[in-house]
């Protein structure tokens, strides 16, 4: 039924029904997104939100939004990403609220900055939500098919890059689709191999056909990108009826589920209808089976980097045995003594593109118009994929509409941290988000993602709907009114002790204290203050939890502000991407020149973080950027094919403009 909706929708593009009929016909759109996983769906949705006519190419419409591995969304660090994707009006948070059947906040006892909202999901419901959203989205067309290769032409000489990607050629029909931007989100399908026991077959996910080798060739041979290989895996699925749950440890959801989305009125699943989770532990027998069957497991023996952090059985003991061994292994666990496998676990190896070859907009440095997001950049996890997807979609859409590229700062969002880590440092193992990766995590909290991103998302980025924007504006106004009301209530410590005995205000405290300071006390809630001052604070009870968190963190965030400002300013100083460092007429040592030439940092901030960079070199670079007019700089570029093309106009050589603060 969903597929029919696609067919029936009138499009500016040729509709898919006419596609089969006219092989090799050329059509065009603004943005093509290849892949319908978590990165691809968010990318397609974000590109359309920005205003681009978008085409999503996927092997099967039916598997759009599939949760290929575990059915869990969010968690510590990852939950922040979900909240941020939602704050930029992405799909993931709302889909999670619709499909979740077990909600809990991890790290509840460790401070709101590191709370990890997490849900266990109903897989079909999640898929349905994502598909329904995408298939009814204006400006978005979804087609089934495989992309055989990228169309590559000469670069736009006005911009950095050696090539320009102008579209894709489809595998079956040979049809050519032109686009101003192409987003690749191929996940594990790029030269993917599936491993089960000693058998190996091509593919990116069990049950789906492998992708052609053409894309890998396009990236490697035509565009000359550096690729690496990574490994991941997914556990076997077991019928619930065959598990003895009485031998498992019960894990209950939160009684009041917290939705992911800032605009959800609640979760679809009623609090009392949530399902419990069960925890089981491995036994020494499991370890024995794993060791005994290790020789039957070619996935693990091969030297490809896998995640150290994947919380699956494989990382705990050793790795996957073959199917019959999976049964043996599972049955070593008391609760699974009679386990029946519905689908066996398997390993996947796949190609990824070394992400240091990308701009912070996720555009490939050497290939204009080509954007990458998700596992193809070496990350792991739905949330990491979705976060990149949103940003690649925004960037691709903006490029198609001739809007300048933007970047998100690591001081403002986990998405910024993720992208900065990827493009700035690269990866050596599948990248997963942790809160400790964010230097400013006390400012980048799950509770305030809307204030950090939604307002900018509407005003500067253009990927947020008016409805969500208005809600964020209302929230911001409410919070700031309430905070000033709290600051305006000032009493002496003696009066506070009378008024709010629970607060335990110290007797030797002197001076006057505002209600905001009192709210910072561990045992004081906003509700207590509101009942003590019902007239002034009563109207803000709806914001109680957020106000408590704001009050707690504000002094610390103030302290961090200076550091954040410094980084923002460094990031605002972009280094030209095609400057020839080896011959730059600036006093730099040969080592520094070679370092800069090799890494090509996007900003002065990134350059200053390079090991081996000297303060004097940074100062000379700074002097060069701020004092040399761009016209002169462009003359020093190395990759200028034809001096004639250097017109007199000063052009913007900066890869990305940071989202305004």
């Amino acid at each position: 039924m969903l597929a029919r909706r696609v067919l029936n929708r009138p499009r500016s593009l040729a509709s898919p029904s006419s596609w089969a009929a006219s092989a090799r016909t050329v059509t065009a759109c603004d943005v093509i997104v290849v892949g319908g996983g978590h990165a691809g769906t968010e990318a397609a949705a974000a590109a359309t939100r920005v205003g681009a006519e978008t085409l999503l190419v996927t092997q099967k419409i039916q598997t759009i939004g599939a949760l290929s591995c575990n059915p869990s969304l969010g968690g510590v660090g990852k939950g922040q990403l979900v909240r941020e994707v939602d704050a930029l009006d992405g799909l993931m948070g709302r889909a999670g609220d619709w499909a979740g059947v077990h909600f809990s906040i991890l790290n509840r006892s460790k401070g709101p900055a590191v709370w990890g909202p997490r849900a266990q999901l109903d897989r079909p419901r999640y898929r349905q939500f994502i598909q329904a959203e995408l298939l009814s989205m204006p400006r978005l067309t979804v087609v089934e098919g495989s992309v055989e290769e990228l169309l590559v032409s000469e670069p736009d000489p006005e911009k950095p890059g050696k090539h320009r990607v102008t579209g894709v050629r489809m595998a079956d029909t040979g049809r050519i689709i032109l686009a101003r931007s192409v987003v690749l989100t191929t996940g594990t399908f790029l030269s993917g191999s599936l491993f089960m026991g000693q058998t190996t077959s091509p593919g990116g996910r069990m049950g789906d056909p492998p992708s052609g080798s053409g894309l890998s060739r396009s990236l490697k041979e035509v565009l000359g990108l550096r690729l690496g290989r990574l490994r991941t895996g997914t556990p076997p699925r077991i019928f619930k009826r065959s598990v003895d749950l009485s031998l498992a440890q019960l894990q209950l959801p939160d009684q009041r589920p917290t939705p992911f989305s800032f605009i959800s009125n609640g979760t679809h699943c009623k609090p009392e209808e949530q399902l419990p989770c069960y925890l089981i532990n491995t036994t020494p027998g499991v370890e024995r089976v794993v060791r005994e069957s290790l020789h039957l497991n070619s996935h693990i023996q091969q030297d490809t980097r896998g995640p150290r952090y994947c919380p699956s059985i494989e990382s705990r003991v050793l790795r996957f045995p073959g199917r019959q061994h999976q049964v043996r292994l599972l049955r070593e666990i008391p609760a699974l003594r009679k386990a029946e496998i519905q689908a066996p676990g398997y390993g996947v190896q796949y190609d990824f593109v070394c992400p240091t070859q990308l701009f912070p907009s996720l555009e490939v440095r050497s290939a204009q118009g080509l954007f990458l997001a998700g596992q193809i950049n070496g990350t792991t996890g739905y949330e990491e994929a979705a976060a990149q997807g949103v940003w690649a979609g925004v960037s691709a859409g903006r490029r198609a509409l001739s809007l300048p590229p933007l970047s998100l700062s690591r001081t403002q969002s986990y998405i910024g941290v993720l992208i900065d880590d990827l493009v700035g440092r690269g990866i050596t193992e599948p990248y997963r988000m942790f809160t400790s990766r964010a230097e400013f995590r006390t400012s980048l909290r799950p509770d305030n993602a809307d204030l950090r991103l939604t307002l900018k998302g509407y005003c500067d980025i253009g990927c947020v709907s008016p409805r969500r924007y208005e809600e964020a504006v209302r929230m911001k106004a409410g919070l700031s009114e309430a905070l000033s009301a709290l600051q305006d209530i000032t009493l002496s410590p003696t009066r506070w002790r009378e008024k709010l005995p629970q607060a335990a205000v110290s007797a030797n405290k002197s001076g006057i204290m505002s209600a905001e300071e009192v709210l910072q006390y561990k045992d004081v809630s906003f509700e207590m203050l509101a009942s003590a001052f019902p007239d002034v604070l009563g109207p803000y009870v709806e914001f109680a939890e957020r106000l408590k968190i704001e009050a707690m963190y504000r002094p610390h965030c103030e302290k961090q502000r200076r550091e954040i400002e410094r980084i923002l300013q460094e990031e605002s100083l972009s280094l030209p991407q095609d400057v020839d460092y080896l011959s730059l007429p600036v006093s730099l040592s040969q080592e520094v020149r070679e370092l800069l030439d090799r890494v090509r940092p996007a900003t002065l901030g990134a350059a200053s973080r390079l090991p081996g960079m000297t303060p004097a070199a940074i100062l000379h670079l700074l002097n060069y950027i701020t004092r040399t007019p761009q016209r002169d700089r462009s003359a020093e570029r190395s990759s200028t094919p034809d001096p004639q093309n250097l017109s007199d106009e000063s052009r913007d050589s900066f890869p990305c403009v940071p989202v305004s603060q």
Binding site: G75, V76, G77, L106, N107, S109, K110, G111, P112, A113, V114, G116, P311, F434, T435, S436, R441, T442, K522, M552, Y553, H556, R561, R562, E565, R566, Q569, E570, S572, L573, S574, S587, S589, L604, G605, A607, S608, R609, M613, T614, P615, A616, A617, I618, L619, H620, L622, N623, I625, T626, R627, T628, P629, F654, V657, Q661
Partner: protein, 497 residues
Amino acid sequence: MFFFYIYNRSRASHRLWSSAPLCATDTIFALSSGQGKCGVAVVRVSGPASALALRGLTGPDRPPAPRTAALRSIFHPQSKEILDRGLVFWFPGPHSFTGEDSAEFHVHGGPAVVSGVLDALGSLPGLRPAEAGEFTRRAFHAGKLGLTEVEGLGDLIHAETEAQRRQALRQMAGDLAQLYRDWSQRLTQCLAHVEAFIDFGEDDLIEDGVLDQVDNSVAQLQTEITCHLHDGRKGERLRSGVQVVIAGETNAGKSSLLNLLCRRPAAIVSPIAGTTRDVVETCLDIGGFPVLLSDTAGLRETADAVEQEGVRRAREKVEQADLTLVVVDATQLPTDPLQVPVFLGAHLLAVLPHGVGLEESLRHCILVLNKSDLLPVEQVEKTQTFLNKNPGLPPASLLSCHTSHGLENFMTSLQSRLSSLCGDPLAGTPSLTQARHRAHLHECFQALGQYQQYRDVDLALAAEGVRLALTGLGRITGKVGAEEILDIIFRDFCIGK
């Protein structure tokens, strides 16, 4: 070109003012005059708390008129102890070197007075010791430096960073280094444990016991740091003076040079290669400059374990030196003068540290070609003439420790290097470095307090405390990273798009 610059600045300040209140700038202080025997030492203060500093040290009455010398008693703001009587200046911004409010204290040049004034300034709220080149950078921000001066700023920062690096290395050698390294390792471990508990505590079976360990470590560290802070005088004695190191191959006559310079047989000399096995140090006054002269073991490959250690120490000394005297046996010189630079170059390469760039090392070195008495007279003259006009090499003197021939020439060259080194306030000002250490250790101590304060309330904020403590400790090692430089550049001043 310059308009572009101005344009950026005005736009920048507009943005800063409009978006957020301008963040407060630290007030910094430092000894701005050179080290060595001098009648007057100048201590400079710059930043918004300069007026406070002036009032704090000279009393609330009779503030000096702007840019006019005034004679005042200078006392410690807490103990009220009189430190000195000297001239003070008040330069209200923007009419000052840095463009900020500034003050200067011109006091008597003795080390006790200078360190007393620096301690007094450090005890005032909002004041901290200046980092390398910080006054100059502030002047740069304020647009007080002309175009050509700015061009030279990179080199200046480079030189100052280099001086500070040597200073840090010097201090970091020995027990103090061991102590800081140990603290830093323990703090890193604490942070790693807290982070692990936050990111993986929920699913990955990390027990609460991990945090108890961290609690213990943090408490222990706090005690140790407090003890250290209150025990500053008993800590490792910081050596004052220009560090001059004699280095070279075995049997080149290094110990003879030492003995010649101190006019007494301070080191054993013998014709046997490898006589000196340890570092021999002696304090000297050369032309009025305090010098700590070290003789080191001759550099050679050796199987003797004691001598190997001697060679290691020699290399370490050279790393820390302000000035290295590379001694070469002149009898080994090639007879063809054209071959001499290559020969000497190879010697220098073998002796000087490579880590910081050879060019930098060359600037801090004098070549001493010893045993000239063993050369034929005409070769001595030819070689000396040749050396005098070869600019590719560091200053070189041909002399004989045996007959003292050529000593005068060498002393002139040595004194001129010493005077330029002592003009650099960073070459060996232990009190300033010590004040910086104390400030950062204090930061570290307070940050650990934040951990304890939030341990049971909010682990994210507690972890932040450990992270800050580690940063504070990291600054002590004297590492002046590119980020610190940019920190100051961007703090007050918005450049770019």
